[in-house]
């Protein structure tokens, strides 16, 4: 059977940087040190007003091609993961096919997922390759959650940053894509949501209510029920990993590097302790980028590659909005 591999990966960050010192100035009850120690993030990048997720996906892909120019011509499929596309229609991936100068025989589609998006993208890319539909898939992730966050929402402002990534999935490469464990629980849709602006509630309402924890819940902005998401994650991730390891017929000790969705340092360390994962096998990269939604894992892969830490079995696990989760194992050379 044909196998699918990650062949190349890179990422783009917008220029503007929001530091903890700036956040502490905006919210004087917080100190920069407290912010850093709580969430493990020193700075996050913010897309410019006129810079969209699609623009950033374009830049991430261009950056990837600048180091691998021969790959551009070989591409025959684009998958774009984003919850911040340019238009209701057409798909941003179609626009990107043209902007990136990719051939007309290239398939293209967008898919709407957040923090689990990279695993879903790898699953689809692998499916396209193994079935012979495509040979070289450009998987893009791009998100501008900071445009959805209310200016007074200090929790989410602290955590999220904007970014885009580009990955090429092909019939050869440095990491063979293994089995998948995917899952969904749509009953939790309301716990991480931007309520207005879609077809259900087209116009902004301006409404703000208090949730059961006494936190503001804006209809027109990103809302996250931190407690529910925390509990969901700690319930779902250990079981997902257990099932994936069963499919792979390997044990937890066989994993050489763990790369979880970089939600925030506190939460993923909680998961690490809960699952008894060794600290030196648990990759964390968020100090300079924050939680970039579907881009955290490919950014971490890029950085792990630079640090020469991608060897053996690398477990990737994403979880979040949907609620949705996904994990896979990459076998690296």
């Amino acid at each position: 059977m044909m196998k699918a591999y990650i062949k190349a990966v890179d990422y783009y960050l917008p220029d503007r940087i929001l530091t903890n010192e700036e956040i502490a100035r905006l919210f004087p009850q917080w100190s920069a040190e407290k912010v850093a120690s709580k969430v493990g993030i020193l700075e996050r990048h913010i897309a410019a007003d006129n810079e969209t997720a699609t623009d950033m996906a374009f830049k991430a892909a261009q950056k990837l091609f600048s180091n691998n120019s021969h790959l551009r011509e070989s591409l025959d499929f684009i998958l774009l993961c984003s919850q911040s596309v340019d238009y209701k229609l057409p798909s941003s991936s179609c626009i990107l096919q043209h902007r990136l100068g990719l051939k007309n025989t290239c398939g293209a589609l967008d898919f709407n997922l957040g923090c689990s998006g990279y695993e879903y993208g790898l699953a689809m890319a692998k499916g396209l390759i193994v079935s012979g539909v495509a040979t070289n898939v450009l998987l893009l992730t791009a998100e501008t959650y900071t445009k959805y966050i209310h200016p007074e929402d200090k929790g989410n402002l602290t955590i999220f940053g904007d970014a885009a990534t580009a990955t090429i999935v092909s019939t050869d490469g440095f990491g063979e894509i293994g089995e998948f464990e995917l899952g969904t629980d749509g009953s939790g849709a309301e716990y991480l949501m931007v309520k207005t602006g879609g077809s259900r509630i087209v116009n902004r309402t301006g409404n703000v209510t208090l949730d059961s924890n006494g936190n503001n819940k804006w209809d027109d902005n990103l809302y996250m029920d931190g407690g529910t998401i925390f509990n969901f994650t700690s319930d779902v991730v250990p079981t997902m990993v257990e099932r994936l390891l069963e499919k792979e017929k390997i044990s937890q000790d066989d994993i050489d590097l763990w790369i979880f969705h970089q939600a925030n340092k506190y939460m993923i360390n909680y998961l690490r302790k809960l699952m008894e994962i060794e600290k030196d096998k648990f990759f964390i990269y968020m100090e300079k980028v924050g939680n970039t939604v579907s881009s955290t894992i490919p950014i971490a892969i890029t950085e792990a590659l630079k640090q020469e830490r991608l060897h053996g079995n690398v477990l990737l696990a994403g979880f979040g909005v949907g609620l949705s989760w996904g994990a896979t194992v990459i076998r690296c050379k």
């Binding site: 929790g155 059961s212 931190g226 925390f230 509990n231 506190y266 939460m267 360390n269």
Partner: protein
């Protein structure tokens, strides 16, 4: 169920705070390392280890580890 074990489980959610700072009368919100995320971790730990569901609003009026322990006991 003993308070000693509960304090140990509580302390497990912290990385930098000295163990002797965790006493029954410790006002946990005054700990340097305390954060709302630590609060979520503790509620999650109580659910997993003690089978008791405590909401974020229920913990709002609780100040000491002992008071939290008593709330867990009352719900078991």
């Amino acid at each position: 169920m003993e308070i000693k074990q509960f304090i140990a489980d509580f302390a497990d959610q912290f990385d930098e705070t000295e163990l002797n700072e965790f006493q029954p009368k410790t006002e946990f919100r005054e700990l340097e390392e305390w954060s709302s995320l630590a609060g979520l971790a503790i509620l999650n730990m109580i659910g997993k280890k003690y089978g008791v569901k405590i909401s974020a609003s229920e913990i709002k009026g609780i100040d000491t580890i002992e008071a939290l322990y008593n709330l867990v006991l009352s719900k078991k």
